[in-house]
Subunit: 332 residues, 2 copies
Amino acid sequence: MTTNMQVLLASRPIGWVTEENFRIVNTPIPKPAEGQILVRNHYLSLDPYMRGRMDDVKSYAAKQELNEVMGGRTVGEVIESKNPKFKAGDIVQGVYGWQQYGCSDGTEARKIDVSRVPMSAYLGVIGMPGVTAWIGLLDICQPKAGETVVVSAAAGAVGSAVGQIAKLKGCRAVGIAGGKEKCDYVVKELGFDACVDYKAGRLNDDLKAATPGGIDCNFENVGGEILDAVLRRTNAFSRIAVCGLISQYNATEPYAVKNFRMILTNRIKVQGFIVGDRMNLWPQALKDLAGWVASGELKYRETVAQGLENAPKALIGVFKGQNFGKQLVKLI
Amino acid sequence: MTTNMQVLLASRPIGWVTEENFRIVNTPIPKPAEGQILVRNHYLSLDPYMRGRMDDVKSYAAKQELNEVMGGRTVGEVIESKNPKFKAGDIVQGVYGWQQYGCSDGTEARKIDVSRVPMSAYLGVIGMPGVTAWIGLLDICQPKAGETVVVSAAAGAVGSAVGQIAKLKGCRAVGIAGGKEKCDYVVKELGFDACVDYKAGRLNDDLKAATPGGIDCNFENVGGEILDAVLRRTNAFSRIAVCGLISQYNATEPYAVKNFRMILTNRIKVQGFIVGDRMNLWPQALKDLAGWVASGELKYRETVAQGLENAPKALIGVFKGQNFGKQLVKLI
């Protein structure tokens, strides 16, 4: 291979992302300058936050510039190093974006140990999504044993970790996911106590049945009608970690939340957060997550698209709920 | 006077409260039993939370029963005591409700010092509304000097204290109120930096002009479109204390909040609260409030309806925004 395939943002989506919003180009493989490393990306992580960056509005993430390589987390191998901290053959987790090769001074690259877990896990359960689950649940919601924790997008990379950690802490874990297959996975494989299929058309009734003692903690990944249904079931002094609102990212008109008043009535704490704001908690979170994965207490699944050229389609699939667990793209 | 005029809840309102929801009766003045005190109420406090109690739904406050005396805080004089902790002539703040005379074992009665401030202030700025302002602003929002604090219902009992305390803490205080007269009062008499008249029809533009550096803290008393306008102007890591949603209390269909996504984007903390949940903070709050009132740093105003028979009309006036500062009923 002599060229570096890259996926650029060609145009900003209005409403739903389409494949036409991207453009694939082939450029020369970069040459590392003094102090730099050249990394061949093996896996690219696709995440819901990417949608927000594609809009031309102020958001928590820096805006994705047009005609630039799409940003994103990757794992890969250092194939050439002019930086004394790295050597060829090192496996690193970095932020090299939607391209086959990345070159940088290594500031954001972190060497990872792939002797016991596959490198892809560093983009999922023991990476940003896992830490997101840990922080939102344990630092923000702070569930007590016996409380009921609800998480939406329960079969996704973050949600599946949230419910399993809740179980480890002695809570009742209730997922919300789309379709019987996902709900079966969440309950039978991941060990949640219950999972509500929001596509079944009985969201309020099914959520009520799944949360006989009400809801003490909600880890919100979806928003929209699901959030309204959760608010109806909240208990006094409940906590809501707002991690994502994926139902809204491709909407041209926002869903308006009807049951906001429950925040007052039940004296709820609602906290929006992004994982990058709480870097001080990452070491503890990663230690816990790696331990639980090693002991088999924390399971994960990956959905892997093959080939960088399929990344746009795979990202659209994330917004349509087509992935189980972590959505990755395998580049080699 | 030989009878005890009382106002009962005759029927539950559907939508707006009307005078027909109340019934006035005259009953014998109660006789205190051993251990009890008889109190003649001088002032009755009218508060927005009373609307929630009139509905037949679960809420933070215990439901108001039909055909019972409307609940509410009062100040008055002990006229007969069979409780060694009180003597005739004591002035007490209690929860004797919408009636001329109340009788109880004194558990909820607290002797107050009226040598330096009028007894009515114990229902307002140095009572529940003042403590509400203190807790929501200082304990929940925790504003730093230089930050911008916005408060809705700024000319009301709670809102007027919030803005003045914000100023005492070195913040920019911006009120939202209905009409030029209230806004003039808030800025010229209370010393807020600015006040937006939401009835002027330019809420978003006027709020933007009044908050050039965005909003760091919001003390929410109103909800509805005002909350949506505030959410648009929030800064990263802002805090919202949800104290009340008075625009919604008489609505049959709730206003749906459009800008909920800002909670995620700006990593906002939203905390619903009621002042009775944080009794541990009352002593410090009351000490601060009394000190600021004594020094003239904390001003207050009262709107006083004369005669218990006018209490229903006065409460409706609160929901229509007709009061300046604390709404009271003078009973004698």
